[in-house]
Subunit: 437 residues, 2 copies
């Protein structure tokens, strides 16, 4: 199967020189980008007219709890502990594999529709999430959340579940679906679980997905208990390494940021969730850049966002740091787009395959339709990236292609019955958590 993306108004390549091409085309064959240029002569099975469109790499979301999309809007504007204990945990205790499937399916739809082509997830009922991922065609790294709460029985149970999830995904052999080992956080996992995760990740050549330093109280209590801050402790036990993707990472000292840099740890910054949960502080991105930490972007779950739209996250990211530092030059648009594409790919260790539009890479591509009043005018090459970060919305994405497969075209899912999915999802959500209507 070959596809010609013909005469794109602009191509935001995100290649090493951040080249932006005008009136060029991209030829895709068997899932790969084969040729980029002004005049492509290859015959293609399908030709997409890309006039008045921007072609760019699909966005990469490095922190989600996808099945929680089912909880969207269920409980907002509450203090964290009350939110967790009276709303989220009681709901989660009722979760089933089928519900996780429905939530994940909805989440995949939202991401694909709004231009995300790859994500890193942490949750439960992994086999059901795989089913949703396969059905929709998105690229994913999935993980089973290990929360042992320092209990040996729980630890063994989670190790077993993690091993089963690894076996399950390895048996699938789907090049688009990978796994991660996911000790939930240093304050919810025993040292044994953390080190077990580290060891399995090494053996399996896998990512480690963890929450670090999301809350101020979390760090304070951790320090009281261990005499060390979270990152210092993780360094001391030998946990930190380039496989680690650390979500949130807000409440860090400069020394902790330096440690993340020295050990090659990647960060998934989740500005919308952090702001909405109002846990205080702002992740120290400028210091992370200084310490050469790879920073990527995540939405977190829809319960604390409340959507999975990476365009939203890009704009919040840019504006949050400008406002926080009183500096409009901190995190310019190009840098933010980098976090959502090439840096996201680096965080997941797949920068050789995705994150930019370059010959030989996998075709994870999106087209933004410029025929929308919020995307007029485009002044020229120097402003396209600003227009993407500050003006474009996920719903401006017309076409989403993953691994050379067109999943959405002109805003419409090509192989899925969207309305049927909505009916099923709605029914599941209401049976599960609905109010009397």
């Amino acid at each position: 199967m070959s596809i010609l993306l013909k005469n794109c108004d602009w191509i935001v390549t995100q290649n090493a020189s951040r080249e932006i091409l005008r009136n060029c085309s991209v030829y895709v064959e068997d899932g790969r980008i084969v040729e980029i240029g002004g005049k492509i002569t290859c015959e293609a099975d399908r030709v997409l007219n890309c006039e008045k469109k921007v072609l760019m790499p699909g966005l990469i979301n490095t922190h989600t709890h996808l099945s929680m999309t089912l909880f969207r809007g269920y409980a907002d504007d509450m203090p964290l502990q009350e939110w967790l204990t009276t709303k989220i945990w009681p709901l989660e205790s009722k979760l089933t594999g089928q519900l996780c499937y429905q939530g994940a399916l909805l989440g995949c739809l939202e991401m694909i529709r709004t231009g995300t082509t790859c994500f890193l997830d942490m949750y439960y009922f992994l086999e059901n999430i795989v089913e949703a991922v396969k059905k929709t065609g998105i690229r994913a790294f999935l993980s089973h959340a290990i929360i042992d709460l320092f209990d040996a029985g729980s630890r063994d149970k989670h190790q077993k579940a993690t091993q089963e999830s690894i076996n399950f995904i390895e048996t699938l052999g789907d090049p688009k679906i990978g796994f991660a080992i996911a000790p939930h956080a240093p304050y919810t996992c025993s040292e044994e679980s953390l080190l077990w995760a580290r060891e399995v990740a090494e053996r399996e050549n896998a990512l480690i997905h963890i929450h670090i330093a999301e809350m101020r109280s979390e760090q304070a209590e951790f320090e009281k208990k261990h005499g060390l801050r979270e990152v210092e402790y993780l360094d001391k036990i030998g946990f930190l390494c380039p496989r680690v993707v650390s979500a949130h990472s807000v409440w860090l000292t400069k020394r902790e940021v330096q440690l993340l840099g020295e050990k090659g740890v990647k960060v998934s910054h989740c500005p919308v969730s952090n702001m909405k949960l109002a846990l205080g502080g702002v992740a120290p991105l400028p210091e992370m850049f200084e310490s050469k930490v790879t920073v990527s972007l995540g939405t977190d779950g829809a319960a604390s966002n409340n959507c999975l739209d990476m365009f939203d996250t890009m704009k919040f990211c840019a504006l949050l740091h400008k406002a926080h530092r009183w500096d409009p030059t901190v995190l310019p648009a190009q840098k933010v787009l980098d976090l959502a594409t090439v840096e996201g790919a680096k965080a997941l260790g797949i920068e050789e395959r995705v994150g930019s539009i370059e010959e030989g890479k996998d075709a994870d591509l999106i087209l933004i339709d410029l025929k929308s009043p919020n995307l007029m005018p485009i002044h020229g090459k120097d402003t396209v990236v600003s227009d993407i970060v500050y003006s474009a919305k996920g719903l401006n994405v017309a076409t989403s292609m993953i691994n050379g497969q067109i999943l959405v075209e002109d805003g419409v899912f090509q192989k899925l019955d969207e309305e049927e999915i909505y009916r099923e999802v709605e029914k599941a959500a209401l049976d599960f958590a609905g109010q009397p209507r």
Copy 2:
């Protein structure tokens, strides 16, 4: 002409008890809401099936510089003074009436498409802006920006232009188009101009549109010069009154907030612009509420936002204050929606006519299409407002009705040739400010 909005899944009325109706309909005749109920038997010229849709009042944007939509993305990520002196002011010096028309037309399209039905503007070439407003059918209050820089000649020129703009709009006699008197700011206008504006507003029964305390340096320099802070000074000269809509109002002391409350001044809070320009501080909304200040929401111009989407502004507003106060309960979703609807109407003095869905009010209504993955599921009556504020996007608006006229249906402008407008706007923008392509 009568229209029946039939079987809306939800109606977010924004009436005094903030009622949310399930499976109800609204009957509109000659621009007015005539009946709201579960079973409406009136025959209508048109029936819109509103299943799987939320009906809500159109949003009210109380601070724009609409023609600057032409500058969208032209210059970003720059310090304010450099941005103004090297980019914005040189562009503005080249503006013509025709360019202001094109910019305003584009801005109107974006607002209507994304659910805004009324706005308050401040700019130049008002007659050309009126042309765009009339062509699109939006409700507007327009004003000529008075910047006299303490020069008597300039003052006279601006007074003349203001008077002409008043005459022009009064002669139109269009019930949807009003005017405001707009001394730009206390630091750019002489006391004579400020008091002249106050007097004319009183005589003409009009709004006053002004910027107050946007920047820290502005307040510091003002205090150095006058021995008083901006609001104190405006109070002293007798400027403050319920006609005043004060944009930004970030850098205020508690005493200044109290003065705004005592004098009945309305505020237009512009969170996206404030964050993007990185001028520091956060407008003290909780203190404003305490002092009974009417607070509404504005996007500011597209040069500093970069879009005119009030859904964007609602989410930024909610999250900015939560993050700033470390308090997820500050500015709950319902309060934010109030700012964008009923409080916006109050700020513009039209709360008897718009801002909520009530019998007898003008039909400024929007329908949100729930068949989008970011709007599933709706758990019930208690979560609809959260879903609107935290999850919905302007582009989820399917239908926009202003004064009983359907301007957009299923995302498509009904009486405008969108593509032709884009071609013209793009040509104008590129001739004016474009880069070589």
